[in-house]
C-alpha cells in the first residue's frame, strides 16, 4: 500500500477488509485452537474498524505468542512471561494505541504470574487473551499450571501431581479486577462475542480461551466438543447473548449477572460443565493511565 494512498485514506475515516489484518501464514499445527483465536482477532479488528497502524499485539513466547506475526498490525513478540509489563509500557506511553496481549498458560500463569497479578491491579485499558491449552506447546509437552491432575508430560511421565490452577479464580481474587470472561476455541460465535465485549470494556479485560492442542493434549476436550450440554452458557443482557441458532445446540444456559463477584468466583470454579461467557465486569474501576 503506497504512502500516498495511505494518507488519502486517512482523510476519510477508513474501513479495512479482513486481509488488511492478515499477516504471514500461520505456522500452527493442524487443528490447533490458536487458529480460531487468530480469526476472531482479525474479525474484531475489522468490525471495530481498528487502524492497523494504531493497533499493537503483544505476546511473550510460546506457540500462542506467535499470533502477532500473523496479524498485519504492529506486533511485539517479546520474551517469555513478560508480555504484560511490555504492554503496560506501550499503553502508558501511547494511550492512543489499541493494545492486545496474547499469552499462553505457561507464559501467563507460570513464569509471568507476578506480572499477571499486578497487571490486573493496574487495570490499564488492555485486552488480554489467555490461550489456555493446559500444556507447554512450543517446548514440546511439559505440564503447565493449568494441566489437569495426572497429565502425562515429559516432565511428569507418571502424570502430574497437582490440581490444575484456575486462571479465573486467581484473577477474581485480585483487587481491581474489572473484566473476566471465558470462551472456547470451538464455538467461534461466542468466542467472538466475548472478545468484542472485552475489547469494548475500558480496563484490563481478561479472557481465558480454552484452546485445543491436538499435538500434545490430543482429544482432551472432545467430550465437551461432542456434548454441547456439557457447556454452560452464561447469559445476561450485559453479558453473553446466545443467538437462536446457537441456542438450539447449546441448550444448557444460565442467567449470570456479571456484576456479582461472589457468584462469579463460584461459577469460575466449575470445570464441568464449562462456563462460557462474561463472569465479571466492573466498568467503575479506574484505569492506571488516567
Amino acid at each position: 500500500m503506497s504512502t500516498a494512498t495511505l494518507c488519502l485514506q486517512h482523510l476519510a475515516e477508513d474501513r479495512h477488509a479482513l486481509e488488511d489484518y492478515q499477516g504471514g501464514v500461520p505456522r500452527w499445527c493442524k487443528g490447533c485452537g490458536d487458529n480460531a483465536i487468530l480469526t476472531a482477532m482479525q474479525r474484531l479488528c475489522r468490525d471495530e474498524g481498528l487502524r492497523p497502524e494504531k493497533t499493537v499485539f503483544v505476546s511473550g513466547i510460546g506457540c500462542s505468542s506467535r499470533l502477532p506475526h500473523y496479524m498485519r498490525t504492529y506486533g511485539f513478540h517479546g520474551i517469555h512471561g513478560r508480555a504484560f509489563p511490555i504492554a503496560e509500557g506501550i499503553k502508558l506511553a501511547r494511550p492512543d494505541l489499541h493494545v492486545f496481549v496474547n499469552t499462553g498458560d505457561g507464559d501467563c500463569c507460570s513464569i509471568g504470574a507476578a506480572h499477571w497479578i499486578h497487571a490486573i491491579r493496574y487495570n490499564m485499558n488492555i485486552t488480554v487473551l489467555l490461550h489456555d491449552n493446559h500444556i507447554y506447546g512450543l517446548t514440546k509437552k511439559q505440564a503447565s499450571p493449568t494441566s489437569p491432575l495426572g497429565t502425562r508430560s515429559n516432565t511428569t511421565p507418571r502424570g502430574s501431581y497437582l490440581e490444575a490452577m484456575s486462571p479465573l479464580t486467581v484473577t477474581l481474587g485480585v483487587q481491581n479486577v474489572s473484566f473476566v470472561a471465558q470462551a472456547v476455541d470451538w464455538i467461534p460465535e461466542s468466542l467472538f462475542q466475548v472478545i468484542t465485549a472485552a475489547y469494548r470494556h475500558k480496563g484490563f479485560s481478561f479472557v481465558r480461551v480454552l484452546q485445543r492442542c491436538p499435538e500434545f493434549v490430543g482429544n482432551m476436550y472432545e467430550p465437551w466438543v461432542h456434548d454441547p450440554q456439557r457447556m454452560l452458557m452464561l447469559t445476561h443482557e450485559h453479558g453473553l447473548r446466545v443467538s437462536p441458532a446457537l441456542s438450539k445446540i447449546y441448550r444448557n444456559q444460565q442467567e449470570h449477572d456479571p456484576s456479582d463477584i461472589h457468584r462469579a468466583r463460584e461459577v469460575a470454579s466449575s470445570e464441568d460443565p464449562i462456563p462460557v461467557g462474561i463472569l465479571y465486569r466492573n466498568p467503575e474501576v479506574p484505569c492506571y493511565e488516567d
Binding site: T3, K54, G75, P85, I90, A93, L97, I117
Partner: protein, 629 residues
Amino acid sequence: MNAVTPLKFRKALQTLDEHIVEIMSDSGEGAQKCGQSFGSIAARMGNGVWTVEIIPAEIQPPARSVAGASGNRIRIGSQRVTNGGDEADIAIAFNEQVLLGRVNAGELKPGCIILLESMWGEHEDPKIVAQYTETRDRLLGEGYRVIEVPMEHECRALVQDPRKGKNMFVLGMLCNVFSLDMNLAREQIAFIFGKKDRKVVQSNVALLEAGWNWAEEHLDFKYRVPAVKSTVPQVVINGNTAVALGVLASGMDICAMYPITPATSASHYLSDVFEKAGGIVHQAEDEIAACAFAIGASYAGKVAVTITSGPGYSLKQEGIGLAVMAEIPLVVVNVQRGGPSTGQPTKVEQGDLLSVMFGSHGDAPKVVMAASTIEDCFYSMITARRLAETLNMVVVVLSDAALSTGQQPFTRPTFDPDWLAPPVDQNPVPDGAKPYDWDAVTGLSRRFVPGQPNGMHTLTGLAHDKASRVAYDPEINQQGLHARSLKLAALQKMLTPPPVLGDPTGDLLIVGWGSTKGAIEEAVERLRAEGHKVSSTHLQFLQPMQPGIKEILQGFRKVLTVEGNWADDPRDPLIDESNRRYSALAMLLRARFLVDVDCWTEVRGRPIKPGTVYRAIRERLAQIEETHA
C-alpha cells in the same frame, strides 16, 4: 578538669586552604541537616565543597551505638573540591559512641579537635556516665583535643525539645569557627523551615546565633577558608538528584523502576518533579517488569529510563538482551553498591562493570558510560538519551553509592532545547523501507514507531531478517549479530580520546573510571608536585572505548588502574600471573592493547581516599624507579 579550655583568651584567625569537618549524631538528631546546611552556606560563599553522608546500617539504630553514626563529612576548600578527602580535621559529636565508630574506622586525623556534647557526663544512668568519661579520657589519652560542649544545656534555654534543636546550635558554632556569613546562614534556615511557620524559623535562628556566640566565647580557634564567589549561578545537589534532573533535561518522561538502595532516591526526586513537569515514574512489581515496561514505552516512541542497582541489574539482564536484539533505545542507570548478592546496600563499589558489559546471554552489544562527578551524572543522562535514540541501542550509565549521596556545587546547567528528544515520528514510513535496513558499514537503521502508517511489522527477540521476519537462515543470523556489533564501532569513531592529567609521557599512568576520579587526580597532582613522573586519565566510555588510548598507554613505562572492585593480590602465596584475577578495567585494557596493565583496588565499602591512592602509587613508583635505576 583540663579537657575544658579556659574561658577567656584572644583568638588568632587561621587561614586554611581546606578543612574536613565531620558531624555525627544518633539518627533523627539532625546532624545530616546541619552538615548539608553548612556545606550549602560555604558553597554559596564560593568555597569548594564535597559532602559525604555518614549513613547508619539500620533504619533506626539503637541510640548511642557505635554502628549508628548518622551525619555528614564536609570537606571545604578555597579551590574546587572533588572528593571527600582523607582524615577529618575536626569532629562534632552528639554523643561519644557515634564518635567512637568514626575513630575506630580511622576517619579522624590523629590529635584533631573534637567538639563533644558534654551532657552524658551528668546523665542519671551511671553506666552512661562511665561510658562517656572512659571514652573521653581514652581519646584525650590518645592525644585528641576533646572540647566538651554543653549543647543540650545551652539549647534548653531556647527550646522545649533541645534534642531537636541541637543541630542548628552546632551549625552556629561552625559558622563561627569557619567565619561563615551569618546572613547566608539565616537564609539557609529560612529555606529549610520555610514550609513550616515563622515561629519555627525564628527559634532555629535563635539556636544558630546561640551556637555562634558560644563558640565565640569559648573556643580559642577560628578559621577562614578563603573563597572566590563564583560569578555564575551554582547548584549543590547529590548524584541521584543530578541523574533525575538529567532525565528531565533529556526529555525522557517515563521512568520505570523498582526500589533499591542506593538508586531509589533518584526516582523519589523524579516522582516529585514529574508530577509538576509531566511524565511518570512507574514503580513496577519487580525489576524485570520495570525493565520490560521501559522497553514497551521506548518501543512506543519515547526513550524510557530504568534506574536500579546491582541486584536489580542482574534481574534485568534478560530484558536488556531483548532491547539489544530488537534494537529498542533504552537508558539504564546502575547506581553500584557493594556486591556480590545483597552485599553492602549502602556502600560504594565499582563491581558491576563486567556484568553490565557481558551479563546478558549471547552477544548483546550496548553502550556503557560511567559518570565520574556529580555534574557528570546530570550530563550523562542527556548523552545517554541521545545515543540510545541515534543508535537504537541500550545505553547503560554507571554511577555508584558515593556519587549518589555525595554533594558538590557545580555551575547550574543552562537548559538547551537540543537536549530534548525529538517528537515521536508518526509520519508514514516510505515505501520499501524495512524496520532493520542495516547499513552495511555502520549497522544503523531507521526507527519504526507504532502509529506510523505503512510501518506495520512484528518486532521479535528471535533472530530476524531486515523485515523483522523470524529467520532460520544461517547468513541472516550472522548478518544480525554483525549489524548490532558494528554500531559500537560507528560510535567509537565519533568519540574523542580521553584527556590526560599531567605529561603525555612518564613513569606511570593511572587509569580510572567513575567516582574515583577526584581522589585519583588529587593524588596524582600531589605526586607531580613532589616531582614524580606520573599522569592519569579517566575513561568516560567503557564500551566502546574512546580512541587514542593505546597511544596514551605507550607514553608510560607502567600503567596502573585504580578501581573500587576486586583484584587478586599477586603477593598472596597462591596467586601468580597464571591465575590472578584482574580488576575489570585492567582486564579490558590488557585484552585490547596487550599492555601489561597492573591494578590496585579496594573493596572496603567506602570512597577511596586520595591519601590511599597516593600511597598505592608511591609504592608502585618506588618499584619502577628502582627497576629502572
